[in-house]
């Protein structure tokens, strides 16, 4: 008797837990009013939502987890590549401030930093482009973006960027996936609250490529965006797809003026 009783209690507890989870989701996403876009002065980097320990990892330049990638990136920067036999360093001196201006609109299409590196590799170095999320591409991107650390993000809403920014904003506000959620519902309306155990940040891409502890590796903003899309059970665009890059551009504009932290550490 006693044993059976205990089993039943467990079963009720289980259903109660599930009910509570859905009730929580419903409470978070239906009853509260939409807050709209975050005022400029209230924007906060993901860094401010992290624990003291994770912040310490990011602040530690001497033994930070992205250190080896940065060293790899430096080596790749100086290495002669491709049929042209030239290195990045043969043409470029400093890349200071460059990462703060990407994604960039060039001849009618929007290009992110990784894609620009691939363009340089194929056109100037006559070398095959690296695959998205490959160790080399991430390392070189991190090395380039590191030089803009501390600089304000400089994406402007201009005639050239406007159509792409509009498309990115529409994607940010569009409900999608089986959970029927938009980016804005979490990151504009409910930042600072918790989704399961994690704090919802404001989604400012201030430190990409990031070293994410969950990945135990460096990863791009596109990887992070695709992650979120899997989370809301939406279809994920391929790496480099225009809709992803437009969303990246919009997020960078949304974080305009905020300081770059590359390579940031995120949980």
């Amino acid at each position: 008797m006693d044993g059976r009783q205990r089993v039943r209690c467990y079963a009720i507890g289980f259903h109660y837990g599930r009910l509570r989870f859905f009730a929580l989701l419903a409470a978070v996403f239906s009853t509260l009013p939409a807050a709209g876009e975050i005022p400029l002065a209230e924007r906060r980097s993901g860094y401010e939502f992290m624990t003291r320990e994770t912040r310490a990892m990011q602040d530690d330049d001497a033994t930070g987890p992205a250190l080896f990638s940065l060293l790899d990136g430096e080596a790749l920067w100086k290495r002669n590549e491709g049929q042209a036999g030239v290195a990045c360093a043969s043409c470029h001196a400093s890349m200071k401030g460059v990462a703060a201006r990407y994604p960039k609109v060039e001849s009618g299409r929007v290009v992110n930093l990784e894609q620009q590196i691939s363009v340089c590799r194929t056109r100037r170095q006559k070398a095959p482009a690296w695959a998205y999320e490959s160790r080399e591409l991430l390392a070189l991107t991190a090395y380039v973006a590191r030089q803009s650390r501390g600089m304000p993000i400089a994406i402007e809403w201009s005639e050239a960027t406007a159509p792409f920014l509009e498309a990115g904003r529409a994607a940010f506000n569009r409900r999608q996936g089986q959970l029927n959620l938009s980016c804005a519902q979490c990151h504009d309306d409910h930042w600072g609250r918790r989704l399961a155990g994690s704090v919802i940040p404001q989604a400012h891409p201030t430190g990409y490529p990031i070293y994410r502890l969950e990945w135990e590796a460096l990863g791009s903003l596109e990887r992070r965006l695709r992650n979120c899309m899997v989370g809301i059970r939406a279809e994920t665009p391929a790496y480099g797809a225009p809709e992803l890059v437009e969303l990246e551009l919009f997020l960078m504009w949304r974080a305009r003026g905020m300081r770059l932290e590359t390579p940031a550490v995120r949980p």
Binding site: M57, D60, A62, T63, G64, P65, L67, F68, L71, L213, E216, A217
Partner: protein
């Protein structure tokens, strides 16, 4: 690529507690994961870190499969005399890296 960085203060007062930080670039493959075709990926981890201070062992750590990739280990010791701190990382598949750092004690 077996790479390790060791961060030790260049100088310290005698008797001072010093912090040693060391980061190893390592994938720390647990041995529990499988490929898409179901084959087990063999374990490949760092198993041990030993730190000696002028030949005397001052710190030892055993690492297990639950350790994250690129492990960062921070520990402290007392600065007794000028000399060398030698950190020896060993692991699966013959992984062995030794890195030393010198310290001046005044």
């Amino acid at each position: 690529m077996a790479r390790v960085v060791v961060n030790v203060p260049a100088s310290a007062k005698r008797g001072q507690v010093i912090e040693i930080r060391t980061l190893a670039g390592h994938a720390m493959e647990t041995g529990f994961r499988r490929t898409q075709t179901g084959e087990l990926i063999p374990r490949d981890i760092i198993t041990q870190l030993v730190c000696t201070y002028n030949g005397v062992e001052v710190f030892r750590a055993e690492l297990h499969p639950a350790m994250a990739a690129n492990p960062l280990i921070t520990f402290t010791t007392v600065a007794t005399e000028s000399g060398t701190l030698e950190l020896r990382w060993t692991g699966d598949n013959g992984y062995a890296v030794t890195q030393s750092a010198s310290i001046t004690v005044v």
